[in-house]
Every structure is written in C-alpha cells, then in structure tokens.
Symmetry: C2
Subunit: 479 residues, 2 copies
C-alpha cells in the first residue's frame, strides 16, 4: 500500500526498453519487412475503405472514416504458420485513436458496470463496447440517438464499439452458456440448447424473431434492423448482424448458417451505406464484418474470403466497404488461436481485427499472437463483482476469510489505484458487507490489470521482447 | 449539461458578497458582541479541554485535542430566544478542519455507499460518520484498529466521526422506525416497539444485551465497551454511549433513562481517559457527550447541565472532558428546532454541537438556527439509490417515465459534476436497468446538494444574508 512502483518496474524486458526510449510511446515503424504488402488470400488489390484521403498518424475528423496503421509485426510472423500474426498498430477513429493490441472493456448497457467514465479512463482503457441488443430493449436506440449517440449518452470521451445484437439474440434466446471460449467436454445438448418450447429465438432467411429477456415481448431483428439500431447508437465501430451457431450444431447447419451470415453481411453493407448517406450530419461509423464458421477451417476461411469479396463488391459499386473484421462464434479455448489464425491468415494486414469475447489472461496472448488487434471480455468486470481479482501470481477471491486481516494491497507489485489505496482487508470487508464499493474497486483493479497486461504485450512486440515477456508473465501467473 | 455555472451564480445574496471578498474563505471574526463570553447555564468558568495549548486557526497535531473556533453568530441570536443560536466556526481536528455548519455524510460500514473517497471529496464533504455498531459486528474494531483506524481503513484523508452504537443497538434491536425526526401522528405502540419476544435489545443498569442483525448472535455493549470499540475505530470525534428512548415511552421511563444515560456518560469519560493514556501512540480522539430527554424541556435542559457537570468534574479530576456535544433521541420534525434550541441554550458557545440525524433540506435550516454545528443524515444517500434527487425546485424521482427523453442535467442551475456530465435520461436508463452506476451518480448529486446547501447557509450567516437566503431557497424548494 502506498508503494508508488507499478508493474513497470516488474516487467523488466519491455519496460527497461521503454525506459530507454523504446516502447509504446515511440512508434517503432518498419520492423517487419513485409509491412505494406498484403498477405493471405491473394487479394492484394483490395482497397481499404477511407484510407485514401487520410494522412497517416492523424485521427480522422468526425466526418472521416476509421483507418488503421500497422506498426510492428511479431518477428516470427510467417504466412505459412497460421496463428502467428501478432502485431501492433493504431486504429484511428473519429473519437480518438486506439493503440493496438487493446483490451476493450464491456459496457453492455452503456455503462462499464460500477464505473464512472473517469474511472474507466483511469484504468487506461482506450475504448468501450456496448450491446445493441440491450440498448435496443432499454432505453431504445432512438433515445440514445437523441442524446447524440452512445458515447455522449454515457459521457465517454473516446472511441466506442457496439456489437450487432446477433450474439445476444441467439444466446439469450436459446439459453446456452454465454461464453465464447467454451469447453464442450462433458456437455450434453440440453446444457446448451433449451427445449424447443423455451426457445426465445427463431432464425429464418430474413432475420430472427426473439423475445425480450426483460419482459418476454416479441421482437424481430434483421440485418437492416441491426444497422438501424447501431446507427442510432452511433458507435465508431459496429458489427454486421450474424447468426451465432453452437459447437454442437451439425456440420450441415454450420454450412447453411455461414452462407446465411454471408447474405446478411451484404444486406448490412447496403443498409450501412444508405444510413451513412442519410445521416451525413452524424460522425462517420465503421462497419466490421463478422466471420463465423465454428471449428471448421474450410468454413472459417471461406467465410473470411466471402466477406472480403463483399467488401470489394461494395467498393466497386461505389458503396462503403468494411472497416475491419470481427471473429465471432463459439470457440473452444484450446482452438482459439488456431481458429483466429485461420481467419487472420485470410485477412489483409492493413485492416484491424476484433475478437468478440475472450476470458482469461492466457487467451490474450493466444489472441494477439493469432492476429487479433482488439478484444472485449466481460470476465474482468463480472469476476470483480464477485470478489475475484487478478494478480501477477494468479487469481484471488477476496471473499476468502484469509484476507480478513491482510492489510497489503491487492497486488502491490502490480500497483495501480486500487492496490495503492486500499487493503485486501478493506475489500474483503466491503464484499462481506455487500457494499457497492466492493464492485467498483475490484472492477477498477481487474480492468486496469487486463489493460496494462495488453499494454505490456504491445510494448514487448514493439521492442522485440514478446517471447520473454510472455514466458515471464504466464510462468508466474499460472504456477 | 455542460453548463459551467453552478449554484454560485444562483444564490445571489451570499455569493455576490463572497465574490466581493466576504464569505466562507474570509473569516469574519467578532461579529457578535457576545463572542468569548459564556451563555446559558451560568457555568462561565468551564474550561474547554485542550483549548489551552493551541494556537487559534491552526489544526492540532495528531497528538493534540480537537478544538473549536466560533466565527459568526446570527445577528438575531439572543439568549432569551431559544432556537436562535445559529453560528459559523471551525472545528479543528487532528485530521483537518471542518468549516461549520457542515453536513456530514454517513459512511455506516466505513464507506459512503457507492462512493470512492475521491468522489466523496468531490461532493465537497469535509468529514464522514461511521457506525460503531456496524463496524463492531463486521469487520470488528480490532481489524479496523490494526488497519490504523477507520480513516486509513477506508482511505479517507480527512476528519471522521463514529457514533456510539447506542442508536443502532436500540433501533435495530427493538425494531422501531429508524429516523429521528419522526412524526408520531397516527402511530400505535406496536408500530414502534416490536413484541417482547422479538426484542433484540435489553437494557439494564450496566449496559445493553442485544442480538446481531447479521446472524442473531448475542452481544453486550456497556459504556466501556463502546469506548473500547470507538478507540479501536479511531475516529476524530466519537460519542458517549447513551440509551435511546422512543416518543411513546412514559415520562417516568424517560426520567430514569436520562439518569442512566448520565451515569453511562461518566463511565464513558473515565474509560475514554484511560484509553487515551493507554493508546498515547494513536491520534488524539475527542469524546462528545450525548443529550437525551425526548420531547421534555426540563429533561433536555437537565441532561445538558448534567453532561456539563460531568465535563467539569473530569477536568477537575485531571481527566479529559468532552470535546463537544451531540443531540440525540427521537425528535418530531415539528419540535426539532425547539428541542435543539433548549440544548444549545444550555451549552457553552465555545463548544461544538452535533445533531445526530436529520432528514430534509428544511431541517438543515432549523437545525442550524437552533445552534447545531454539524449533522449527519442517511437521507441523501438512501434516497439516491432509489432514484430520488434534490433540485432547487424540490425533489424528483428519476425513475419516473417522464425522464426517459429528458436530456437536461439533474439540475443545471445547481450544476456540479453529475448535472454537468449526465442527463436525466441517462440516469433514468441506469435506474431502470438496475445498474450500479445509478446509485453512484445519484448519491454524488445528493451529497453535493446537501453539502453545498450548508456551504451556502454558512456563507449567508457570515455575510449577514441568512434570512434572505433561507427565504429564497425554501420558497423555491417547497413550492
């Protein structure tokens, strides 16, 4: 407690380099000889929407498109080796830059649960992600639109994402487990999919009928509706409306679903283009395609190439293309890197990629190595409200009686606002007393932990010390 | 929203004067010709503990006693007119000064519910009050003591109060309504006092047996135990252990109770003196006597004089006396000013007075006029968590559907962090979505409202514009 030294002094490799002039503040350009070329599917000629009129290194104005600058690629990155595409860069949005890789906290209902925007900023978070499904149901995207968009509504002065609602429509509707990186061992169909009579979501070619989790009322999402909602919400980055399948769906269903998600993506692009013209007074939004395809390499690659074709088609027709891509769907933890690797292997290097949902610190390394630039995750916030906190030596649950008289900070070596100002004993007391502040403080700690971990990974990639940093962090965290 | 003008521009009388050099920053000394004399019971010779070795205007060191400097008295203050003793001043504590009158937010379990210490500070609050009863049960005063006292435990860098636990032992035990300023119209005995078999508190000459609200376990508080707990908690200001009676107790019971509270107060002084010597390494704490006596003028005056006798007796015997006084007990709202006035009429002007529990903005004016220097109140925080917010035009409940599309701040004229940064529509959404942040933001607003109201009252007394300010505020708030 009160110790000012943070993690900077601990993670000797990248931080010593940072201290000596390297690191995240100094942009190490051109480290990778492949920079500027296009890799993967051979679509080297694909133009990236909105890149043309922008000066490198500047944030676009509110009426300009999002863009991405690649900075450093992991030296071991090789096209022949799927799952090794880690890189650093900057996403320029109309509301500010995002240094990538970046951890994006989830603000489901236009609030990172328990935190004020100042507290979110204090964790180091650069952007936050809200859910179209939840904000459509309450307060309604029309209210958020009238407020000037989700960022203004929640008083967040920075970039924002919204997801398409597809995930929630399906997962809350069907009722299966809501984590993406899931382990199917020992699962039964009934654990995942509720009986037909309890299903709240029905998919047809045009869209999805579902019932509200709030009041059971009936609603219908189509690709067009999702775009209209997300334009109302007005986030810098939004996602195409996709169908989420489960790991136990048949191969035949996955194929037909990927094909439908492809057709929906085209409709999203068309509606996004129309809305952008119609709402030219609003800050420019960027639509990202979402790659599905479950655990099948051919489906994932085919889906990715399909989205790139749609992107090119849009540009050829004078419409807006995708600004980036998301990797969605049910991913088993053990296959996370492989699947993201297949997708990133197909994607142009010049476009940013978001991984929709991860869970644990080791997933961050896997996702980054596989080529993801940003990722959202409810784990740090959800865990925090139950008293679970990350430390450099692994996870603790502060509700445990052994913390009653532990007057040290949560993790004094890691440092940060919470560890420097409050004892484990105080947090234990707040948790036992069911005080609101317990959630706030544990959330601040966990989000700062994840954000700073990714900051360190970014610095280590830029400084060429990624492998050492990873070995040191994981070796300590998981022992 | 976004408007920077705060209430300062609204409350034209005191603030124009403040802007022209008067006001709370400039100490207007000697306005009252009676300053320095002693009024009331004729005990003009009573020395005030710890006043001797202190330079006026300086905060005492950690090993020095609390003291009080009177600054301005309301011009109409007359000894002959009970209920007109309003004044401004400064309480100097080892952890900082409190400009009086001051609103003291309640931090029952060592947290002002939903707020970080930085957020509490941002409301303008100068000191916070915790409850000995709650902290004794959880986490235990030994844990708080080991942490370095309640302020360090909760990371609050300022003065702290603890109450004696007497109120909670009785109110939570007996189960009657927990507000002090209560209206007994239409009450029945059974509304107030639970059946004997349900009573969790039993009073005898030595102390009180009670059961925990947490787990029903049996405990016993005596004056000595309360002092030991409060020394463990280590607040700057603490209160003598008293018996709280109800408005429906018989006159005979009130008499015997006041007599018992008097005997308990002596035991508190003796134990406090012993503990202070024993714990000389700890910052000096100040014990304040508590005046009971229900709605009876003779009992209230007798109780007050009794405490002053005990104070003098302690000084004569070389022990520590009281540092101030609290007014406790069940007070009907309509008699609040009268009762506090009787007590303050008896008390020496040089000593600070705390009113234990009030509820509404108009009570603040009543309490201050009657001579109270500080007051605590759970209403602003409790109300806030349910969506109730104060405005200059009265109270609103932001859960009301009419706020769904109200994009103005809570009270833009009042201003402050919440009104300047969030819309009523956003707070309405958070409340409907049952988001934690709703409680945080509404609490910040309400506490800031009460703190700033008292700040303005203080400025108006110093500037001689109290009557105008009161008429303007109440005329608007209650119409």
């Amino acid at each position: 407690m009160g110790k000012r030294s943070g993690w900077g002094e601990w993670c000797c490799f990248p931080c010593q380099l940072m201290a000596s002039g390297g690191g995240q503040r100094q942009i190490v350009m051109g480290k990778c000889s492949r920079r500027g070329s296009r890799r993967g599917s051979g679509r080297g000629g694909a133009k990236v929407a909105g890149m043309e009129n922008r000066q490198v290194g500047q944030s676009p104005a509110l009426d300009q498109d999002l863009s991405f600058d690649l900075r450093t690629e992991l030296p071991e990155a090789q096209a022949e080796q799927p799952g090794k595409h880690g890189r650093t860069g900057v996403i320029h949005t109309p509301h500010g830059d995002i240094q990538t890789p970046a951890f994006i906290p989830v603000a489901t209902k236009a609030t990172v649960k328990t935190l004020t925007p100042e507290q979110i900023r204090q964790t180091g978070a650069q952007a936050i992600l809200s859910n179209a499904y939840h904000l459509y149901l309450q307060p309604g995207q029309d209210v958020v639109d009238e407020a000037g968009g989700v960022a203004k509504f929640e008083n967040w002065h920075g970039p924002t994402y919204t997801d398409s609602g597809g995930f929630q429509v399906m997962s809350l509707g069907v009722g299966f487990k809501k984590v993406l990186a899931m382990d199917t061992k020992g699962w039964d169909e009934k654990d995942i999919r509720a009986r037909h009579k309890d299903r709240y979501a029905h998919v047809d070619e045009d869209g999805v009928d579902f019932r509200s989790v709030i009041d059971g009322s009936r609603h219908r999402f189509t690709p067009e509706v999702s775009m209209q909602i997300q334009h109302g919400l007005g986030a810098d980055i939004m996602f195409a409306f996709d169908e989420l399948t489960t790991l136990v769906d048949t191969r035949a269903y996955q194929e037909s679903s990927v094909a439908r998600t492809h057709r929906w993506a085209r409709r999203c692009l068309i509606e996004h283009d129309r809305l952008t013209r119609e709402r030219s007074h609003r800050p420019r939004q960027s639509l990202w395609g979402v790659v599905q395809g479950a655990q099948y390499e051919d489906l994932r690659r085919q889906a990715t190439r399909g989205l790139l074709d749609l992107h090119q088609e849009a540009l050829d027709e004078g419409r807006r293309g995708f600004g980036g891509f998301g990797v969605g769907g049910a991913l088993e933890k053990e296959n996370l890197g492989t699947i993201v690797g297949w997708v990133c292997d197909e994607l142009p290097r010049e476009m940013p990629r978001h991984l929709l949902g991860i869970s644990e610190p080791d997933d961050l390394f896997t996702a980054i190595e596989a080529g993801a630039d940003t990722f959202d995750c409810v784990a740090p916030t959800r865990l925090a409200r139950r008293g679970g906190v990350y430390t450099l030596d692994g996870r603790l649950n502060l509700k445990n009686a052994r913390f009653k008289r532990d007057f040290s900070g949560v993790d004094e070596e890691f440092g940060g606002y919470v560890s420097e100002n409050y004892s484990r004993a105080y947090l234990h007391h707040l948790l036992k007393a069911k005080e609101f502040l317990a959630g706030t403080l544990c959330t601040m700690h966990n989000v700062e932990f994840m954000v700073r971990l990714v900051d360190n990974i970014r610095a280590s990639i830029d400084n060429g010390t990624y492998a050492e940093f990873k070995a040191e962090f994981l070796g300590r965290y998981y022992t």
